[in-house]
Amino acid sequence: ATACGGTTKSDVKKESGAAASAGKADPNAPTKKGLTVGFLPKQVNNPYFTTADKGGQKAVEALGSTFKEVGPTSATDTSGQVSYVNTLTQQQVDAIAVSAQDPGALCTALKQAMKNGVKVVTYDSDTKPDCRNVFVSQAGAEDLGRTQVQLLAEQIGYKGEIAILSAAQTATNQNLWIDYMKDELKDPKYKDVKLVKVAYGNDDAQQSFQQTQGLLQEYPKLAGIVSPTTVGIKAAAQYLSGSKYRGKVKLSGLGTPNDLRSYVKNGTVEAFELWDPAKLGELAGHASVALASGQITGKEGQTFEAGELGTYTIGKDGVVDLGKPTVFDKDNIDDFDF
């Protein structure tokens, strides 16, 4: 590939594996107090992240350390997020918990941070594994992908055309889930279910709205929509509930109980699922403090205590799974408030 003497893709070695710090982990090291943990969500003012970061705050403060949250106001302002990593490094926080807008863009800055002794945890959205110590995953991507299809298939009686309404085309986690959804559909029990289209609403209410309209016009026989994004499912629900399709076209995916409560009650949505973002943040908080206290370094097999959440074990590539998602329906939705 270097025919003309240039540098090509094949010349660049694939690096992988979590950036386990040089030092050894001491699972029995005391939990340090008075640390500062900076949470850096994809976007401030985003209810999902606000809930998650509140969970983080609860954990961090319970452990006797200081919590702070900074972040850009736009979920696509990658350079803004990079500056915030830099800022946190300058402020010499002990750990950063970040939900990455982009798997690659934050790397240089995060590595710089780790070089300056800052521990890095990613949550919700990962970077490349060598740019952080630990990734706290909301649920196994596989679990999430497969269960969403299962949930919808049940509602449409394992029969008919379905479509996916995703967020941005570049959203890493969305794409991963969609891959698992497609894989799940290969199972013979879905032989009458046909995925006709993946549409992208860019996590914008209005665009998701119009994409839903487009789906219904293009596929008049559509039986159901999976929207693995909280903005998308809400917009789709709003459209369906105000149109003649209410109750006829099933809708499922990932959403928050508060967003979808009224649509569940008026019959637009039967059931949907989500992990508890507060718990996700809480776990990220615990992981951060554990890292900063030297109890873990991010190697596979290490374990740490996460308060009420119990004990967690670090998996391959430094990934910690929160657990299975919760399914919400008419019967249990009033038990949740987030």
Partner: protein, 346 residues
């Protein structure tokens, strides 16, 4: 040393009324071009997808356009005066949220709309005062207020959001309801549009907006109260942005701190596509409304045709350029037709 002593001979009266109609007709063609483009696009889509112009389909088209039509109407007024208001998206967002908060607290829908409009008036006045009293470039000032209002909105709203569940049912139903295929919201927008157009054409102060956009210095010399008119245009634009905010709430039932951000470019596009010239003094609100309809329809047409959303953005941009190019070609034709007709030799 007299130049000439010939006293003037009477000149034949000008055969005028027929040419007026011609001019009128030719000028209307500028909007006509967009209209034809729009119809062609809708017809093609209908051929490709017979569900497109169903009752629900038409209703969706109209509903999608409503909010942009309203904001574009206000923007057109400002652009006609050779100014611009980039803060409309921010104003829309904050007034939608304000109306939502009020309704959430059990308020009356009508009062909520009034509240949104009043907020719009406030920000419109702010822009208008800054631009007209400060006599500073509107682009900079309103880019500034875009940021300021958005910032205040984000600080105030934080991560809160208002969802359909928080709103009275009647309000949300109003947002998607209507008489068969014609939604209530579209009727509101139409009423606003028609009365604005009538005002611009038939009232002195309306014409003065055109005059001062055409040449501000000449307007001053002609005794036009330039500042007051600019203030009026901005306030009106703010009113419509506020109203659009309330309707947005009704339509989408869902607002947060990001509502309406980035809207300014869409609005400006609609106005420009609609043939309202950025250097002021010409264009109509009907044009702006057509531009808005065209832009929002593109967003419905492509998904309806099953075009992958990957292509939507590129096609959108190319259509936009096409629309202005067509408009330009038509305008050039008009100009040369005028020139031929008015040529003084012949």
């Amino acid at each position: 040393m007299t130049v000439t002593t010939t006293e003037p001979a009477p000149v034949a009266p000008i055969p005028a009324s027929s040419s007026t109609r011609l001019v009128d007709r030719v000028f209307k063609m500028r909007e006509l071009a967009i209209f034809v483009l729009l119809l062609a696009m809708l017809a093609l889509t209908q051929v490709g997808n017979s569900a497109f112009l169903s009752e629900q389909g038409i209703k969706d088209l109209l509903l999608n356009a409503t909010i942009l039509v309203l904001v574009a109407t206000g923007q057109a007024l400002v652009v006609i005066t050779r100014n611009v208001d980039l803060s409309v998206g921010s104003t829309l967002g904050i007034s939608a949220f304000a109306a939502g908060t009020y309704l959430q607290g059990g308020g009356h829908p009508v009062v909520a709309v009034v509240l949104a409009v009043l907020l719009g008036v406030g920000f419109g006045l702010l822009n208008g005062l800054l631009v007209s009293l400060g006599q500073v470039p509107a682009l900079v000032v309103t880019l500034g207020t875009l940021y300021i209002i958005r910032g205040i909105d984000s600080i105030w709203v934080g991560s809160r959001q208002i969802t359909a569940a928080d709103l009275p049912d009647g309000f949300v139903d109003f947002g998607s309801g209507g008489i068969s295929a014609v939604p209530w919201l579209a009727l509101i927008a139409l009423a606003v549009l028609v009365s604005t157009a009538y005002y611009l054409k038939h009232f002195g102060s309306g014409r003065e907006l055109y005059a001062l956009g055409s040449d501000p210095e000449a307007a001053r010399l002609a005794g036009i109260p330039v500042r007051r008119r600019i203030l009026l245009a901005y306030t009106f634009c703010g009113v419509l942005a506020g109203l659009a905010g309330a309707l947005y709430l009704a339509r989408f039932g869902n607002v947060d701190s990001g509502t309406g951000s980035g809207y300014e470019l869409t609005v400006v596009s609609a106005v420009v596509v609609g043939g309202v010239v950025f250097t002021g003094g010409s264009g109509t609100v009907y044009g702006a409304a057509l531009g808005a309809l065209l832009l929002t329809s593109v967003n419905s047409v492509l998904p309806a045709l099953g075009v992958s959303s990957v292509w939507v953005l590129a096609i959108n941009g190319i259509l936009l350029i096409l629309a202005i190019a067509v408009d330009r070609v038509v305008a050039l034709r008009v100009a040369s037709a005028l020139k031929k007709r008015n040529a003084r030799h012949g």
